[in-house]
């Protein structure tokens, strides 16, 4: 057995167990080690690849750490102004109803500066997919407090911990938009373990299938980590996420086939 593990053998097609997704470009990901953005990009591209819809899929990158998502995804993409992606996705879908349109947004982008665009696109029931990566912090700008930062959680603009009296409460925007009649599928997932990656991929697949079936808006939150912003190692960050983020942002479907399930 041992002597079979040679470079030549590993490279043999029949021995490949993991490889770069076809629709990811060769550009090296700019994310910190362990960051959930890279994994989330990958599974979106796997879904687009498996559905065979590369030529019909248009993505929108946000302002945030994933601002350069268009460098990594091998599809036509637009770069949004901070928070405006749902408005853009609305126009793209209205003008080209046969295309698959998704926005990819962070929590600052989607739940602070872009709250109005998010709520109204969801409430109109636009037939689009919103992928929402919630890491409870402004990763890109260096770890400031986000609308989703947990009570007591430290950030560069809540250095003594988020005080909900003066800084407000974290916003559970996903639960909020699940209440809107326009949303068809609302779910909260994570990508820190292979099992969770599989679940998230299934959810994203379902979201894209919903567009095909013209069902309305699908919203997939991915609770993610930010080792740099949280000032932790990647392993610590995942542990902290499981222990602190998940109790506040519980994983699972919130609305399925337009019915609240939670």
């Amino acid at each position: 057995m041992e002597e079979n593990i040679t470079k030549e053998n590993i490279r043999k097609k029949e021995n490949i167990v993991y490889k770069k997704t076809n629709l990811m470009t060769d550009k090296v990901l700019s994310y910190c080690p362990g960051c959930g953005h890279g994994t989330t990009h990958r599974i979106i591209m796997e879904v687009v690849d498996e559905m065979g819809i590369q030529s019909e899929t248009l993505g929108i990158a946000p302002v945030g750490c994933s601002v350069l998502a268009y460098e990594f995804m091998n599809i036509d993409m637009q770069e949004a102004a901070h928070g405006r992606a749902p408005a853009m996705a609305t126009a793209m879908k209205r003008l080209m109803p046969e295309k698959y349109i998704f926005s990819y947004q962070g929590d600052g982008d989607l739940a602070a500066i872009g709250t109005a665009e998010t709520i109204h696109a969801c409430n109109r029931g636009e037939n689009i997919t919103i992928i929402f990566v919630n890491n409870g912090i402004y990763g890109m700008t260096g770890g400031q407090m986000a609308p989703t930062t947990l009570p007591g959680m430290k950030s560069s603009t809540s250095p003594y911990g988020r005080d909900i009296v003066t800084m407000g409460n974290p916003l559970k925007i996903t639960e909020l938009i699940a209440q809107l009649p326009g949303t068809y599928f609302v779910t909260r997932q994570a990508v820190h373990t292979p099992a969770n990656v599989r679940k998230t991929k299934k959810a994203i697949r379902k979201a894209f299938e919903n567009q095909k079936l013209k069902k309305g808006l699908s919203f997939v939150e991915v609770v993610s980590n930010c080792s740099s912003g949280w000032k932790m190692t990647p392993v610590q960050a995942n542990k902290w996420m499981v222990e602190n983020m998940f109790p506040f942002y519980p994983l699972g479907d919130i609305k399925v086939d337009r019915e609240l399930v939670k």
Binding site: Q54, D76, Q78, A81, A87, A91, M92, R94, L95, K99
Partner: protein, 360 residues
């Protein structure tokens, strides 16, 4: 066959949009231009040409809908009035940076702030000098009649696509609200996806195997590349300045004095010319139609021939800065402005000409 109609300036914008094959309108109500959205909702252009009309949740949303539609190679537009246009500046700057063609209509009202709903020309600086952040210009067309409101929709789209740049119709509440006769061309079909793929190969309409993916962005974090991008933008603006200047001259041939005015105030000046000439004052009108690009050469030439220029604006004096720069100090140039939604009377324009230019 041209079709004759009687309608408001605002309605003429909408009717023209349907007829030139506009793909989408996205807007938010604000006086004095809400008729643009209302007319479109009544006419249901989706049933006529497939044109999409959507009332957005804000001007921020509207302009970003326009950004995204333009990025798909679609002929898309929005309209608003001054406070709403201020909100749109972020999106306009992004479109300038990403080089996206689009049409924005500003039916100007008096400011600053919530100001008034009455007509004004106080957004000249904002329109012609960029308006949002960064070094950029948008093409600015200034209609002075309902007919021009209609005609500049097609012209605006054509120029926008020719240069991959946003274009603006800078009108005002008076022209938006007044009714006049207006002639329309027949309906043009909208572009098909095949035509869009051919005409605008940069558009994001889906990556096919025969080409690289298309990316629409205004971002480049590398300063060296960002500088090159800016140099390219500036070269484009110089080309626009060279090729797209439009203006009208009225009674300028024998004129000793010139009014420079656009939009509503240019119409007041036409009446003022009559009154002045009855008194034996030889005055003409130079009306810039493109405010950006500004008719610099033409004003410089005029300034060598006449004795004085009066800039007549419904503002505290904005265009006069461009007139003075163009004239290079050759002659006396004064400003006569009205603010806060007040329109000049022709008689007072003549009076000020006599006092500030002829007598002064």
């Amino acid at each position: 066959m041209r079709e004759l109609k009687l309608m408001k300036g605002n309605e003429a914008i909408s009717e023209a949009a349907i007829r030139v094959g506009c793909d989408g309108y996205f807007g938010y109500p604000i006086t004095p231009q809400s008729e643009i959205l209302e007319y479109l909702m009544v006419e249901k252009p989706e049933e006529i040409s497939g044109m999409i009309v959507l009332q957005a949740e804000s001007e921020l949303a509207s302009i970003n809908m326009v950004y995204a539609g333009a990025a798909c190679g679609k002929r898309v537009m929005t309209s608003s009035s001054s406070p709403g246009i201020s909100l749109m500046q972020e999106g306009i700057s992004y479109m300038a940076g990403a080089e996206l063609p689009s049409l924005i209509v500003n039916v100007v009202r008096g400011g600053p702030g919530l100001g008034t709903i009455q007509p004004s020309q106080s957004d000249y600086f904002q329109a012609t000098k960029g308006g949002g952040h960064g070094d950029y210009h948008i093409i600015v067309l200034a209609p002075s009649s309902v007919q021009e409101m209609a005609d500049f929709v097609g012209l605006g789209f054509d120029l926008a696509f020719k240069y991959r740049n946003p274009a603006m119709i800078l009108s005002d509440g008076a022209i938006g609200q007044m009714m006049e006769k207006v002639e329309f061309d027949e309906h043009q079909p909208r572009f098909t996806e095949e035509e869009i793929r051919k005409n605008t190969p940069w558009a994001t309409v889906g990556k096919t195997p025969d080409r690289e993916r298309n990316i629409i962005t205004s971002l480049d974090l590398d300063p060296a590349r960002q500088e090159i991008h800016n140099i390219k933008l500036q070269a484009k603006y110089r080309k626009i300045e060279e090729n797209e200047v439009r203006f009208e001259k009225i009674a300028c041939d024998d004129a000793e004095y010139i009014f420079v005015a656009y939009g509503t105030s240019s119409r007041i000046c036409q009446k003022a010319i009559q009154l002045a000439r009855e008194k034996g004052i030889k005055v003409g009108l130079f009306r810039p139609i493109t405010l950006y690009p500004f008719p610099v050469k033409e004003i410089k030439e005029l300034s060598k021939k006449v004795k004085g220029i009066l800039s007549v604006e419904m503002s505290a004096g904005q265009m006069i800065e461009d007139i003075r720069l163009a004239a290079e100090g050759n002659i006396k140039i004064e400003h006569f402005g009205k603010m806060g939604g007040i329109i000049h009377s022709p008689a007072e324009v003549v009076e000020v000409l006599e006092q500030k230019i002829i007598g002064g």
